[in-house]
Point group: none
Chain length 248, copies 2
């Protein structure tokens, strides 16, 4: 998905993750946004972990390719750009980036990038953060900060994917607005019906009322097909009247 | 977090959610980013649900304040701006927005906004989507799309929270769209007239035709005043028929 001219896809590095289930969820989060390279530093329960697969909901390729390292230093040895995700401020003298800023950097630079995520309960240790050049912090509710590991991973992966034009950007099936002549035809039909219904009263208000209606019905930007549908509606309402009158 | 001069905080509406655990996780996702208003449409296992609290990890306030509705129409009756989240393309003729675009809209507009999320397995039904003016789609890996409910909620909440830090957007003089309940009133009036006119023929096409009309008439985002004007138009067309019939 990444082309050679753009930044390499970053590695997601889980540092001392505790539960296999969370490793699986992180894999799922990654693959949703096209990230496939997971690295595990000293996973608590060893690797492979039987709880990871079911939680990955099909993102098995990420788990199968995951590599295990004994230390953060080993895991980032080939990385040129290391980011440490933290929630709390730590008084460390490193740039603190929003995920969107970190994502832009990752896309813009050459060389391997990696993003470190700490253990579920405690987050990254100061020594882990020291390895990184920058800190990435997701700004959360100061009164309720409770992002789990997979959620932190998905937000970073999501931001990164924005720079990728991953899935084709959402296409819309919207048709262009109908040519003005077709809209005018509909307005004319309605106008005739309203005229017959005595809607334009008092007569000196008629121009204003007509302008109001035109504004209202121009606002939607209905397509030619939509205008045809509405003319069908008007004809039905009109025909119903005629039919009733004929029947009576 | 929201100030009155900016867009109101959106309501998160879970439509027919299945597991209480997922409702709790969605609440946690919301509160991380400062969203507190959850609405539940026909939760499968009723409400309250004992599985929700533990999964909310402390976001109890969101669950305690959650309101339950029997239908999507009831849940959005006071909302001027309704967004439907979907993953799949549906060939519906509505604008499809990236979460970032939807978030910018929500911050810029007056009147209540709401974002609809479908049930875990199936997502929103076509009839649920028909209520919305726009669709919000998270662009995900075309080869692995597996976002769960809480993840979809957290991405929307995260994007929304970004706009909270921004300067207030330029305000527009446009009136907000009428609350959905007022639009529904107009749709009901038209429907009654069309029913009487024999418009819905053949009968098995009626649901599709009704959906088409709803989509068409939801598209403009007419204000409350505009909806009143249009109801006057409908009443005139209806009254004219009655008058004619009486005169004949």
């Amino acid at each position: 998905m990444a082309s050679p001219s753009r930044g390499e896809r970053p590695a997601i590095i889980l540092v001392r993750p505790q539960l296999g289930e969370n490793i699986g969820k992180a894999a799922r989060a990654m693959l949703n946004f096209g990230l496939t390279e997971m690295r595990l530093v000293a996973p608590r329960d060893g690797w492979p972990n039987p709880s990871a697969g079911p939680a990955a909901s099909g993102a098995d390729i990420v788990l199968e390719q995951a590599k295990v390292y004994a230390s953060v230093a080993d895991a980032v040895a080939d990385c040129s750009h290391v980011y440490a995700t933290t929630v709390r401020k730590r008084g460390v003298t490193k740039p603190v980036l929003h995920p969107a800023e970190a994502s832009r950097e990752i896309h813009g630079q050459t060389g391997k990038s990696a993003v470190l995520f700490g253990p579920e309960r405690s987050g990254l240790e100061t020594d882990d953060v020291a390895v990184a050049r920058s800190i990435v912090t997701v700004p959360i509710n100061p009164e309720f900060g409770s992002l789990n590991l997979a959620q932190a991973v998905i937000l970073i992966a999501y931001e990164w994917s924005k720079g990728e034009a991953l899935a084709s950007p959402p296409e819309t099936d919207l048709d262009p607005p109908a040519p003005q002549g077709e809209l005018d035809g509909m307005l004319g039909q309605l106008d005739g019906m309203l005229e017959a219904a005595g809607f334009f009263f008092p007569p000196d208000r008629a121009p204003t009322t007509r302008r109001t209606l035109r504004t209202l019905l121009t606002k939607p930007g209905w397509s030619a097909q939509e205008v045809r549908t509405l003319r069908g509606v008007l004809s039905a309402l009109d025909g119903r009247k005629r039919k009733r009158v004929e029947q009576d």
